[in-house]
Symmetry: C2
Subunit: 235 residues, 2 copies
DNA sequence: CCCTCTATTTATAAGAG
DNA sequence: TCTCTTATAAATAGAGG
């Protein structure tokens, strides 16, 4: 999780596993204690490990026993209670996973369209793109535009002696495919269920027109985007 | 822990407590699951809360039962086992607390001496300082010097067209009392049990000499510090 | 209340000694 | 191997919808 992102899977190397175990056990117990304190609740953590014959028990074996007897009593009424609990827990997990999936799809779509954008910047025409791609691409460009405007604003605000043109080119410099794909900067593409703004409709008409243009139509001529924005990527 | 550092104590406000509970519970279970996966160990977490009639049980009630029965069997041999465990846990905590105290003392000492240093820079003489303070002060100055040298080195390495003098003054600019006290930069003062280097002994002699100098002796003349370092704070 | 969005703090993996 | 340090990832408080 630091120095390098690490995959959560069994650590093969003995020493490393033990080191990680000690660190994370400490972290876990701390978290448990904080949760218990902050929210005034009963909690207990038991950890078995090959490094100790005794399990690690928090906050104390006595307390753990107390909590445990409480636990033992309750689901005893019927195993069905337990099943319910299991089921709802599973449902919860599925829900969470679905949410993560959705977000991942969104991110993927953003990356996809970003790649398309850079292909276009490389000279590829728009002919092979379908309506949805064009639409999303337009949205992405809009977002980038807004981002650049924001940065220009900040830069001009920060130093009046610097021209905004210089600022603009500085921003544009960052927009390499790698930077766009790797940087953590959010561009907020809400791909699937995005609302259709007036500008979007206008753009869709524009796109339709373009798709009937001669084949050598190039992106350059599209970039000023129908409005008179003087901050086009490539003047 | 974020936006503002928060004290670990019971959250009075109901909604905030619940929100925190949900967030942290999620985090805790994630940590537990990661630990279990990474190190291939049995672990179980049970959390009682007023927000659910059922306790939160991880990884599943069945699994928890399994782990628990394992736990129940073991300390039953004698309560003394439990007592031991309690005692050793307590010892561990005390040890940790002592360590933290030591570090805190060290940090405090560093801040203290840093303040003294800036008082001196403000024109206060060295007359009121005892041997230990002078010694630590010398050490601090040495560290700062090294730090500045390091930065000059890095800066001159980074851009050959820039003069090292400019770089030096840039470093010196940072050395306001606030910056020194608040910045996270480590200066590594090992106050109490520091080893005595030859330079230190030399300085101690120097200090002794200074303490017998006329009262209007000022810090300025001490700053080049016995060696011929051309990078004195105030030339 | 519950989500989402960041600024910030905390946890921790990898190095260094 | 253990500890301490440091750079980076992860958790999360507080603010907004």
């Amino acid at each position: 999780m630091t120095r390098s992102k690490v995959k959560i899977s069994y650590i093969t190397k003995d020493s490393a596993r033990k080191a990680t175990f000690r660190k994370r056990k400490k972290g876990l117990l701390k978290k448990a204690s904080e949760l218990s304190t902050l929210c005034g609740i009963d909690a207990s953590v038991i950890i078995y490990s090959p490094y100790n014959t005794q399990p690690d028990v928090w906050p104390s074996p006595t307390e753990a026993q107390r909590v445990l007897s409480k636990f033992k009593k309750m689901p005893k009424m019927d195993q069905s209670v337990e099943m319910m609990s299991q089921e709802s827990l599973l449902k919860q997990r599925i829900e969470l996973a679905n949410k993560q999936l959705k977000r991942q799809c969104r991110d993927n779509r953003e990356k996809e369209i970003t790649q398309v954008m850079f292909q276009c910047l490389g000279g590829q025409g728009l002919e092979n793109l379908n309506m949805m791609d064009l639409n999303d691409l337009g949205w992405l460009l809009e977002q980038n535009m807004k981002d650049i405007d924001r940065r220009i604003y900040m830069l001009t605000k920060a130093s009046h002696s610097q021209g905004s043109v210089a600022a603009a080119s500085a921003s544009a410099t960052m927009a390499t495919p790698e930077a766009m794909l790797k940087s953590g900067e959010k561009v907020h593409v809400e791909s699937p269920e995005r609302e259709v703004s007036p500008e979007t409709e206008q753009r869709q008409q524009l796109i339709k027109d373009l798709m009937h243009s001669p084949e050598n139509m190039r992106l350059d001529s599209v970039f000023s985007f129908g409005d008179n924005n003087p901050n086009a990527f490539f003047p």
